[in-house]
């Protein structure tokens, strides 16, 4: 990846990541995170991981973040009030801790033996064929375990998010509901945005 492109993408990534933790409205935080993830996807593609980059855009941005958006709307979350004076000590030590962590990671990375540099990767590097070759040979057991994990997560999410009133009379139709709408009938959505609460 050319240096200029890297600096451009890195600047967007850092600014949008700061946006995730500094904005008060959860929807704005989520949009900043979406921007970070897309920026990362572009960076992956620039580093030759084309398939992983596109999968990041499809799975992370196209599905997981939409799930977050649903939950924010479902719970009708408004912007937090600015006077967050109660946890001032935690905030102070949080920032200090993050700064110490950055310094520590930098020291580690400088000391760590770095690979010689970006040599030219083999042809088809990062293509779906090369990924599948590794995935279904060396990582086959991990792959199967991950599928099991996903199944458990889906069942667990449905079981957790189902409304207690509906728990006794679980009809087959409700049991087969997708995760995203697992609790959507439970609580009416009240889409009132306070005029002052919008950034």
């Amino acid at each position: 990846m050319p240096l200029g492109l890297f600096i451009f993408l890195a600047a967007i990534a850092v600014l949008s990541a700061l946006g995730v933790i500094l904005q008060r409205n959860p929807v704005h935080c989520l949009l900043a995170l979406v921007l970070t993830l897309l920026d990362m996807a572009v960076m992956f593609i620039g580093l030759g991981a084309v398939t992983v980059g596109f999968l990041q855009a499809i799975v992370y941005v196209g599905a997981i973040m939409v799930l977050f958006l649903f939950v924010i709307w479902l719970l009708n979350l408004q912007a937090e009030d600015r006077g967050g004076s109660r946890q001032l000590a935690l905030k102070f030590f949080g920032v200090v801790g993050a700064a110490v962590l950055i310094a520590e990671l930098f020291v580690f990375l400088v000391k760590a033996p770095s690979p010689a540099g970006m040599n030219h990767p083999p042809p088809l590097f990062g293509s779906i064929a090369s990924l599948a070759g590794a995935l279904f040979t060396n990582y086959l057991i991990a792959f199967e375990a991950t599928s099991l994990l996903l199944l458990v997560a889906v069942i667990g999410a449905v079981a957790l998010a189902r409304h207690p009133a509906a728990a006794g009379s679980l009809s087959p139709a409700q049991g087969a509901q997708p995760v995203a709408s697992g609790g959507s009938e439970a609580r009416p959505v009240t889409p009132e945005h306070k005029a002052g609460g919008m950034g």
């Binding site: 992983v52 590794a134 997560a153």
Partner: protein, 100 residues
């Protein structure tokens, strides 16, 4: 060409931003988002090293991380919905009693 260590420096910065987000925010959903941010910072390291070594293993691990993040988001958000039903809040400092 950008040396791999630059990508790792960026990854360190993003990871620290994620840690700071978990520590300073009250909203549990934003905390979950910060965790996703940390996972992605680690992914960036994997991809950069994978490119530097010319090996595809790092990319496979990133695929696993994305899958686990999907499972984590589904379970985490379900727990948040369930907690919100009982306590009417998503703020971590108000969810301080470990019983319903």
């Amino acid at each position: 060409m950008t040396p791999p260590s630059w990508f790792m420096a960026l990854s360190a910065v993003l990871f620290a931003i994620g840690v700071a987000g978990v520590l300073i925010r009250r909203n549990v959903i934003v905390m979950l988002m910060s965790i996703e941010l940390m996972l992605n910072a680690v992914n960036l390291t994997f991809i950069a090293i994978s490119r530097a070594l010319g090996s595809v293993d790092g990319q496979v691990i990133v695929l696993f991380v994305i899958t686990v993040a999907a499972a984590e988001a589904a379970a985490g958000l379900a727990i948040i919905i369930s907690a919100f039903r009982n306590r009417e809040t998503v703020y971590a400092d108000e969810l301080n009693v470990m019983r319903w």
